[in-house]
């Protein structure tokens, strides 16, 4: 039987990851990384937020993108679950609705990598010249 992974293996992996990360600057300050929040309340989970979050994690892992992916509660957009919030370093956060795998893929390809906004944005939390 193959050896079962332990925390010791994690320590070893951490060392290689640390050197990998320090090659790219700004890695140890989370606010300088891409931040993704997945809405994970009953409404989100029932609509497949777990699959969306797993997919995002796997895809970011596969493409070696440094990001911080965390969970958040219901943002009040139950009609458009699963919803995610994407914040690029130095930019305002953007909330996307109906994020199944295909849209998550688009968001990673175009928003996170190329910096272009994608269809499916939920407006409402943004500051406009009037409410600033």
């Amino acid at each position: 039987m193959a050896k079962v992974k332990t925390l010791e293996d994690l320590k070893r992996m951490r060392e290689s990851l640390q050197s990998e990360l320090s090659l790219r600057e700004n890695s140890d300050t989370p606010e300088k990384l891409v931040q993704i929040k997945v809405s994970m309340a009953t409404c989100g989970i029932a609509s497949g937020a777990k699959e969306t979050m797993s997919f995002i994690m796997e895809e970011l892992y596969r493409r070696k993108i440094d990001a911080v992916v965390t969970q958040t509660g219901c943002m009040g957009y139950c009609h458009s679950e699963p919803t995610i919030e994407v914040q690029l370093p130095g930019a305002d956060p953007v909330v996307y609705g109906n994020v199944k795998k295909e849209r998550a893929q688009l968001i990673i390809d175009q928003h996170i990598i190329a910096g272009k906004l994608v269809d499916g944005i939920i407006p409402g939390i943004y500051s406009t010249p009037d409410n600033k």
Binding site: M13, L17, T42
Partner: protein, 182 residues
């Protein structure tokens, strides 16, 4: 909710929202007694007697973003379908303990689901909460905590996708080792 993993993800969300700093997820499977129990203990803000009663009501929620709260009622329904049930104990300021008991072999018992993925997502997704995950299968037990992972990580973020994948695989392998049917 298609499986128990989703219920866990959901109920832990309640604990996190109640400002817990530590959440225990205790799964026990016992073939002799034919029982599968799920217990979630937190040290969050707790609830009063009256609120506990209301928590089982689908049209009660403490949040302001919407008017229904289905998390606990859905879990209760699934547990009761297998002749099991749920209990909630809570004290204001101390925390809440929720226990759901299922008859393990009952045809209506939801499957465990992708438990390794779910626990890894909970641990990575809530970096500021110490998650204590304990899964026992008959006499064997596997325990993993956020704290011990963070201790092995130093300054690398627990929410990093690479770490998340590792945690998932580690849980999978260890559960397999103690005999959990994944």
């Amino acid at each position: 909710m298609r499986d128990l993993s989703m219920h866990i993800l959901d109920i832990v969300g309640n604990s996190v929202r109640a400002k817990s700093t530590e959440v225990k997820i205790i799964l026990m499977e016992d073939m002799d007694y034919d029982i599968l129990s799920l217990r979630i203990e937190d040290n969050g803000c707790g609830m009063s007697e009256a609120t506990i009663k209301k928590a089982m009501d689908p049209f009660f929620t403490s949040r302001k973003t919407r008017k229904v709260g289905l998390g606990i009622p859905l879990l209760q329904q699934n547990a009761e379908l297998t002749n099991g049930g749920i209990t909630i104990e809570s004290e204001i300021g101390k925390g809440t303990q929720l226990t759901a008991v299922f008859v393990r072999s009952h045809i209506d018992r939801p499957p465990l689901g992708d438990i390794a993925d779910t626990i890894a997502l909970i641990i990575s997704g809530n970096p500021n909460v110490n998650i204590i995950y304990s899964h026992s299968f008959n006499d064997e037990k596997y325990i993993l905590t956020t704290k011990e992972i963070i201790n092995s990580l130093e300054n690398v973020s627990i929410s990093h996708p690479k770490i998340n994948q590792f945690i998932k695989q580690m849980i999978e392998e260890n559960l397999e080792l103690i005999g959990v049917e994944l």
